[in-house]
Symmetry: C2
Amino acid sequence: MSSTKIHALINIGTLHTFAGGPRRGEQLLDTSPIVNGAIAWDSDGRILEVGTEVEVRDKVSGGNVTWHNAGGLIVTPGLIDSHTHAVNAGSRANEFVMRCMGTEYMDILRAGGGILNSADRTREASQGQIVQVGRENLRRSLSFGVTTLEAKSGYGLDTETELKMLRAIRTLDETQSIRLKATFCGAHAIPREFKDNPDNYVDLVINEMIPKVADEKLADYCDVFIEDGVFTVDQGKRILEAGLKHGLKPKVHCDEIVPLGGTEMCVELGALSVDHLIVITDKGIDALANSETVGCLLPGTSYYLKKPYAPCRRMIDAGCLLALATDNNPGSSRTENLQWILNVACLYYGLKPEEAFSMVTINAAKALGMEGEIGSIEPGKSADLVIWDAPDLSEIPYHHGLSHVSEVVISGS
Amino acid sequence: MSSTKIHALINIGTLHTFAGGPRRGEQLLDTSPIVNGAIAWDSDGRILEVGTEVEVRDKVSGGNVTWHNAGGLIVTPGLIDSHTHAVNAGSRANEFVMRCMGTEYMDILRAGGGILNSADRTREASQGQIVQVGRENLRRSLSFGVTTLEAKSGYGLDTETELKMLRAIRTLDETQSIRLKATFCGAHAIPREFKDNPDNYVDLVINEMIPKVADEKLADYCDVFIEDGVFTVDQGKRILEAGLKHGLKPKVHCDEIVPLGGTEMCVELGALSVDHLIVITDKGIDALANSETVGCLLPGTSYYLKKPYAPCRRMIDAGCLLALATDNNPGSSRTENLQWILNVACLYYGLKPEEAFSMVTINAAKALGMEGEIGSIEPGKSADLVIWDAPDLSEIPYHHGLSHVSEVVISGS
């Protein structure tokens, strides 16, 4: 061992490492818990040792070790929320009331509300105001055990506002503790100005927005809402290819309401993830199962829009890599509570708690292309941990609507 | 004004009093908010004055007034959770996992699990252990803005354990801040010992349990689970009539899975509430609408059991008095989050936020027979208040899975 400062978390009642890489099929169930576990990490927050407390104490000792006590509680990797629109210009509670009274989400969008409503407000808002909304949302995400979170642009729909959103995400990454990854999602809706010539908007996204986003290194990923009445598969492909040319990896809204073949196209492009998949076809499932692309499922959105649930078990059985996320956004899923997402996923996808946990840890890391850095508790990875005030993993989805977090560790602190 | 100590809460941005008594039909929408409101109460926690800040300052002043500042936030009556099993012997997460994998709730009960599982554990538990579980549950309920809560026995199913549960509820009422009301629910399931002669168990409930509960003044209400395979309407009627003779008012599980006519019978008995009502018939709705009995709806249970939702809008249109509650219990609805219940009710019953709030304030008070004491902010009632960290009422069901409470006041403190 080196002589640098070392931290060790001991007295972990049950340690679920989720080690061994992203999981398919029956592997999702593997938690191989370590009883009386411990974890040691260096001053950079890099994990050095994982094992029983006896094993870890054997390897790290001496005056340079700071000891932390988990009080016999259970520990998992920090949760990863791999699909959110958490940085925005605020509430659309009025549309929630309309939807409760029977108006359809897509009808609100077609009537110029929905994403376009958020876009109006985001254009008016200052970068500071967007940062403010994001900071509150991230504070809540942290309280639910989220240590890494993906946030998208897409409420600008013009170059200036898209850049403003991504700069807000960067500011937040630098000034609060959750590790943020940014997605450029300029093709989130067709702005009113381009209602009659959407291809011109696609050109703007490709020729102006993506190069500027890449120049400022403001995003890691590129997203398109491929949907009936929004962007076609061909438009999506053009945008995603342009993104790839500029180093932005595809992470895409597909097969949410009408199946258009988006999943198949995105798999072919080597997308990191295809997200929603409520209406994924057999062909789509087959393509996904034979790929390294992750299907990111958003059961809270099905609940919130009163839509069917994605055929999760069929996808697991077919061998797809799957993740779960909140989709936290002002219109179709207004919650930061990734623990509640575990509840709705277990109940409505028919998942065991261990499967659902695999899908918000190591598989969610894969959905961000970060499976080498986060998502499990293994030497070399970042010490991102949740200490849970719960007797076992099952209690967390079972007892819902609140947070079971006792403590969160990000990058070792 | 008297010269006793007075407290005044001023700088209330928007004050929703829910005054004017229990509500039916379009009255559910009436919030008549007071802008720049204030509330004054005496040292017993009894409300003296309600109005604009100018009006209240005009009526209370001088050195005997302690001023509190609501910071411009919104204020409502404290929430009332009028149907829970919050005092029990703990987790049934294992059955949650079975249900996620496809086993039906009633099949778990028939196989000797479910309520019988909780009964085994409650019989083994000491009164102190039950108090401990209850205390944790109530601490969480308080964090969601609940100021009055009904808790049932019913995991004893023998005289000794039923009394132990009710004594635990009494201890909790005396040692934590939520106002508790207790329901004797000995007829919650047929215990294994009486599997082959349920009428003998009914006799035990009537001849031994109810008199002992009444002697010790341990309960306010009497409940029966009237359901196919549990208790018949006739058995229920015998038990409820025995309860009435001993001063216990009927509050009853009816029409949850199979409609048996329980609602009609309970209305005839003058029950305070009939609860669940997922499968209520037209005849049941008609009986309810023409009565003072409250239909207490439990949408979180429909969600958690993946069952249909009660026909709430039809009942509103028919003129029924309706309340909402969590049904917090270890098997069919494991949440203290009454704010989340507002979310599922708005979405899946098609309610406006104001309607849902009426159903957890003044109408929930009526479901407990306490509409003269709590449930609205009016002179003479208890100063039970929630100060909300939300821009308006809609935000609370809209943004779900967490608590929007800033501060809770119970009996003026």
